[in-house]
Amino acid sequence: MTEFTPWASLLGGALIGLSAVLLMAWEGRIAGISGIAGRLLPPWNDEGLPSRLGFVAGLVAAPLLVMAATGAQVAQTVSSNIPLMTAAGLLVGFGSTWGNGCTSGHGVCGLSRLSVRSLVATAVFMATAIVTVFVVRHLA
């Protein structure tokens, strides 16, 4: 069980949206984390590496800053099944790059731009994820 948090989730979502808007205003880029993370590795075919390193460093710093400021732990339950998490990481990395976006690039930025491609991608990854969780939790 996790607690349903409509207001905190709406507020957190708004901050994510604001970050995406400001990134577009600053350097004209979509805030797609799979694209930002995937281009951390070579080949580097543009000048954007410092930007991407900065964005990723900010992501990593966020929960640490919250813990330092509030003294509270950031609640998290991550599977300790290492083979499963390794396989999932490979699938997420490959799939999000192959499909040109993840929850942020297609789900947030693409839907906000009313992109039909992003709508289809979001419907497909939501559907396969829901089926996967159903199989793992209720059939396996």
């Binding site: 957190g12 994510i16 995406a20 808007v21 900010g58 790059t97």
Partner: protein, 143 residues
Amino acid sequence: MSFLVNLLLGLLFGLGLVISGMSDPAKVLNFLDLAGTWDPSLAFVMAGAVIVAFFGYRIVLRRPAPLVGGRFHLPHVAGIDRRLVVGAAIFGLGWGLSGFCPGPAITALGLGAGGTLAFLPAMLVGMWVARAAIERLRLAYPD
């Protein structure tokens, strides 16, 4: 300068993930578990983000160019192709197995869970393999 601005934007994005609860894979998996312990929070995160970005993008894209970088880099591929659908399906499978998509997984790095430390390098390898395959097969979309 771009490093610093992006550091702040990444921080803002990461704060959004933490405040919304999306840095916790358990919350994501419960959203996906319609038949079990369903937690609708993720839909509210998406709604908050899309509403702000929908109006924000409209304001920003009225300008002739971004502050730096010369031009807006907007995807202009039209139509649904197999690459899009296959990629999204593979991504959804990994997302459903772990509860992690790229943003929350990176945000979780400093919390140091064993599963995160296995997931992240594998994710980067998956991304690298996909990029190499796209390059090799000449499937890259025009920029």
